[in-house]
């Protein structure tokens, strides 16, 4: 069962890398920010899976903190950084 958790964590990490490559060359800055939010959620899942795969229960606490604080970046982006319309060529 530990192997299954680690395998799914690996799959989610591969997912994350694909989204990272897409975020680096994404069309608009809002899409890149959505990618960053997806990183937060996927990272929470990976940390919870790693806790089951032998990293200990402390990893669950880290996942909890990450779930709380990943949203702050999104709010800061929507309220402060997203000023004007970003065109494709922007």
């Amino acid at each position: 069962m530990t192997t299954l958790a680690l395998a799914i964590a690996l799959f989610l990490l591969a997912n994350l890398v694909v989204a990272l490559v897409a975020a680096a060359r994404g069309p608009t800055s809002a899409d890149r920010m959505l990618m960053a939010l997806l990183f937060g959620t996927t990272g929470t899942g990976i940390l919870a899976l790693l806790a089951a795969a032998g990293a200990g229960a402390a990893a669950v606490d880290v996942a909890l903190v990450l779930a709380l604080l990943a949203a702050i970046g999104g709010i800061a982006f929507a309220k402060r950084a997203w000023r004007a319309r970003h065109h494709v060529s922007d």
């Binding site: 997912n15 899409d31 990618m35 929470t44």
Partner: protein
């Protein structure tokens, strides 16, 4: 392996599939609003299934409860962020994609 183990493994796989679908939607959907929709799938269902599957096989009740506590937290946070980004997009005048538009 008991039935609980099988159920937990099934939930983990389903959660991973939802994460994959969310990533795919984020890559392929045409505008900000529909991409938010895809992101919510990964947030709510994918993470929910993974956390439920892990909580079923947790060592103690405290760890299981902590795992299940993450889920409503993520639901609230993603609802708030989704609302903020969608409203900001509307304020900036980004129009929703309609059928027939260029993607």
């Amino acid at each position: 392996m008991s039935a609980i183990d099988w159920l937990s493994a099934l939930l983990l796989v389903v959660g991973a599939a939802f994460f994959f679908a969310g990533t795919l939607g984020l890559l392929r959907f045409p505008d900000v609003y529909s991409r938010l929709h895809a992101l919510a799938k990964a947030d709510n269902l994918g993470l929910g299934c993974v956390l439920l599957g892990l909580a079923l096989r947790a060592d103690s009740l405290a760890v299981a409860m902590k795992l299940l506590l993450i889920w409503p937290l993520v639901l609230t946070a993603s609802a708030g962020v989704g609302f903020a980004i969608a409203r900001r997009a509307q304020t900036l005048g980004i129009r929703p994609w309609r059928q027939g538009d260029a993607p």
